[in-house]
Amino acid sequence: MPTYSLNVNGQARSVTVSSSGMPLLWVLRDVLNLTGTKYGCGITACGACTVMIDGEPKKTCDMDVSSAVGKAVVTIEGLSKDRSHPVQQAWIQHQVPQCGFCQPGMIMKAACALKAGHHGKEIASECDNLCVCGTYARVRNAVAGL
């Protein structure tokens, strides 16, 4: 069983998995118990599994864990200690979530866009994950001020 050294939310984490092909999503969820990152489709269609890797939004449901080695992985749990990240603040202020299941992925998309220096409508267009509840209008409102 292969072992990998990962950097997740600023911490060095050693993980042992059944095979090198195990997607990062399941390493996060089932090995590290970081369940904020969600499984939605397994085929990179919905974006619920999005995390920040070296500042970029990456869908983790088909990303081999080995390809995350040597990179900085930030999940929704690591975005801030106290919901103080501007995207989290905007999400609370604009009351974006309904069921909330897609929101970690959506927030990570927005956080990456903000980090890249994007603003407002530009961020909105990058928040192209699937939300079955249909919170898109509030996502737009929330990122309008970012």
Binding site: S18, W26, K38, Y39, Q95, C131, G134
Partner: protein, 750 residues
């Protein structure tokens, strides 16, 4: 009417209550949000009786906790209930902590045999009883304060923000200070509510309690349950419904077990039969290992011989044949699928009215597909089973009480040996009102005897759903020379949700199937509304707005076709045939919001539709741009609702906007298709839904009718109401824009 306070207790006697309310000591009211009559008695302070479905606890530490049975699946009702409670308890809304209670707190709901968070019912079903209970709790606390102060004249006290003040002495007692005393008092049978003009909380757009945990990953859905030492299991079903496993495979390398799983009693719908082994679960150390090993298994199934003919086109052909060949319902007869039920019939026969010379006849068939739920959180359930002793279950369930009964039935354990946790739901939409996935997880746990989380892959979730029923609806109507509608014949052929759940249908058929097709307030002349049960092998179930999503499409499309035939404006045509003040007000509000009378940019058109469901009336105006029925964009959706009263306007707006998106997804793309019994749409790449780029402008207006608040007026639902009028308003807009009338959903079937 009073709240039904069944127990008040100082000691939190039952383990369940201790678990949910903590052990702060203080006043606990256990009350019913669903039954009448008062039975206050400390002697009953054991486990909650069947009639009790909420606990209110006011702790000596000033905590205020409301434990409810209803499920939070994104609709925000848990926050709204807390908001209602804060009003008559006279505390700030931030102090009320609403928690998920045990399944014994789930109120029986009058939907078939289900006991569930369904029917847009949580707030509207509990509003008055919760207010009464809050007022009774408040006055019990005031009584305790009066005893303490030694002045029994209630008019000498004022209550504000959780503090009881004795006006002459200035003595001030907090709820927490008197909570322990109050627990020994008999609560009054009724208590005055806050007068309408003094309402501070009800009707305010307050923040939802559940949102902070949903922005930092700490919200725990069913899939997020983690138990020390747990395993993961992935389900793999027979590709068709009604099949059985031919041979149990051995566990592949890397798997800890392969467990045959059978259809539990009471969960077999359509071709599925209780007792059939229709799935296997592969158990492994992670979800991914379980899923990949399940996918790789070579399995042999005995398929039902008829499965080869289970094709979408055949289902539609069968429905079209039944349109003319159904057998009329006969009281006392078996009335098998294929029976024609009369939902509504006027004394005058529409056939006669429509045969009058000079009548212009419009006749059309509308065809709607099976639609998947596709909640973003796939079905899952976690079970920790100790043989013969205990079973702990974590499930994203809309119907925890049914699930609890299922767990007891499968394990042979008593309710007191089962600990059932209802988690947050990553969407429910009606699918999580079923308990099939819970029964499967229990079966697996009983074999592996370790904590195990059963997960359906997205593909299993899509292909083994209990779908929104398909339907073929034929409408025949006619206009006289004065454009009066003189006759209306309406026949809906559709699989029965309730019959698949064992209900014996009465003379009108399936209430879920015919809802929103009858008692229409339009002047339609002579009318006859019929419903025919379609003998579908496909499992069908409750889906956001259920039958209203089918019938409102057919009714409002035909009304528009009549307006077109009459050469009249869609809005004016409707208005002139309505007298119901609610419908008229909502129609007018939607038209105003949607700018119905304003000039349109070139290449644009508007459509309108109106309907009613769950005691609410809703109308939608859709504005589209484009060039054809296959090339258009939804620009703007304007929706008006009369839900009779509003607790949280911002949440009403959110729910209706979400319903609009749900309606758009279903109208444009939503369908499950079948070939030789196998569901064809397996993931989000073949069953599209809109993303943010296609999100139209959505505006919502609430037609206020709640001054004064009136107990005798049934409260309207909100959660499902955005859905039914979207598809017809869109089809009507596209027809005006392009001249092409779309009568078969979805718009984009490929």
């Amino acid at each position: 009417m009073t709240a039904t306070v069944t127990t008040a207790s100082a000691d939190i006697a039952s383990p369940d209550r201790r678990r949910f309310l903590g052990t702060t000591g203080g006043l606990t009211l256990a009350f019913s949000l669903g039954a009448a009559g008062l039975a206050a008695s400390r002697a009953e302070a054991g486990t909650a009786s069947a009639a009790v479905n909420a606990w209110l606890s006011i702790g000596a530490d000033e905590s205020i906790t409301l434990a409810v049975g209803a499920t939070e699946m994104g609709q925000g009702s848990s926050s709204s209930l807390g908001q209602v409670l804060a009003e008559d308890l006279m505390v700030s809304w931030q102090r009320v902590n609403v928690v998920q209670g045990p399944p014994t707190l789930v109120a029986p709901a009058p939907v078939g045999a289900a006991i569930a968070t369904v029917g847009s019912g949580v707030v509207r079903g509990n509003f008055w009883r919760l207010r009464d209970a809050a007022a009774i709790a408040r006055e019990t606390l005031v009584q305790a304060a009066m005893n303490r102060v030694g002045d029994a004249d209630r008019s000498h006290y004022a209550v504000a923000d959780g503090v009881i003040r004795h006006l002459s002495s200035g003595a001030a007692l907090t709820y927490g200070a008197v909570a322990a005393d109050a627990a020994f008092l008999k609560p009054p049978s009724s208590a005055p509510l806050v007068p309408d003009e003094q309402l501070r909380v009800i009707g305010q757009s307050l923040p939802r309690q559940d949102i902070p945990a949903k922005v930092d990953g700490s919200a725990v859905y069913g899939l997020d349950v983690r138990v020390p030492g747990m395993l993961f299991a992935a389900i793999r079903h027979c590709p068709t419904f009604g099949g059985t496993l031919a041979a149990t495979p051995s566990a592949p390398a890397g798997a800890l077990a392969v467990v045959p799983v059978s259809v539990a009693a009471g969960t077999g719908r359509g071709a599925e039969r209780a007792g059939n082994v229709n799935a296997v679960a592969v158990v492994a150390g992670t979800t991914w290992d379980a899923m990949r090993l399940a996918r790789g298994l070579s399995l042999q199934w005995n398929l039902p011989p008829a499965a080869a003919s289970w094709n979408s086109a055949q289902f539609v052909a069968d429905a079209q044949a039944l349109m003319t060949q159904a057998t009329p319902y006969a009281a006392g007869a078996a009335n098998p699928p294929g029976t024609l039920y009369t939902v509504e019939a006027s004394t005058a026969d529409p056939a006669t009215a429509l045969s009058q010379p000079g009548t212009r006849i419009m006749e059309a068939s509308y065809t709607l597909p099976y639609v998947s739920h596709a909640c973003l959180e796939v079905l899952n359930c976690t079970v920790d089973y100790t043989p013969g002793v205990r079973c702990e279950v974590w499930a994203p369930s809309q119907t925890a009480r049914n699930a609890l009964a299922m767990v007891c039935g499968l394990t042979g354990l008593a309710e007191s040996q089962v600990v059932f946790h209802t988690t947050l739901l990553g969407g429910g939409l009606g699918r999580k009102a079923e308990v099939d996935f819970i029964a499967q997880a229990v079966q697996v746990a009983m074999v592996v005897k370790r904590p195990v989380q059963l997960v359906w892959s997205r593909e299993e979730d899509y292909t083994h759903d209990q779908y929104r029923p398909m339907a073929v609806v034929k409408v025949r109507a006619g206009l006289d020379t004065g454009n009066r509608v003189v006759g209306w014949q309406y026949r809906n052929v559709s699989p029965s949700i309730l019959a698949q759940r064992g209900s014996v249908l009465g003379p009108k058929g399936d209430s879920q199937g015919y809802e929103a097709s009858h008692a229409l307030p339009y002047d339609l002349g002579a009318r006859r509304v019929e419903w025919v049960s379609h003998p579908s092998p496909i499992p069908v179930g409750f889906w956001r707005s259920v039958g209203a999503s089918i019938n409102t499409f057919a009714v409002e499309s035909m009304v528009d076709e009549l307006a077109r035939t009459a050469g009249l404006d869609s809005y004016e045509f409707r208005r002139a045939r309505l007298t119901d003040p609610r419908w008229l007000a909502v129609l007018e509000a939607a038209a105003t919001l949607g700018g119905w009378r304003s000039a349109l940019a070139s290449g644009r058109a508007r459509g309108i539709a109106i309907g009613a469901a769950f005691n609410s009336v809703v109308a939608t105006v859709v504005e589209v741009s484009g060039t054809s029925a296959t090339s258009f964009k939804i620009q703007r959706v304007s929706l008006a609702i009369d839900c009779t009263l509003v607790v949280n306007p911002a949440n009403v707006e959110a729910q209706l906007t979400g319903g609009v998106v749900h309606g758009i997804n279903a109208a444009l793309y939503g369908q499950q298709t079948f070939a030789a019994g196998v569901a064809q749409r397996r993931n989000f790449n073949t069953n599209r839904m809109i993303r943010i780029g296609a999100m139209p402008q959505v505006a919502v207006t609430i037609v206020q009718r709640n001054a004064p608040l009136d107990r005798s007026v049934p409260i309207g639902g909100v959660g499902e109401l955005g859905v039914p009028t979207l598809a017809p308003a869109l089809a009507n807009a596209v027809a005006r824009l392009t001249g092409t009338r779309v009568r078969t959903l979805p718009f984009f079937a490929a």
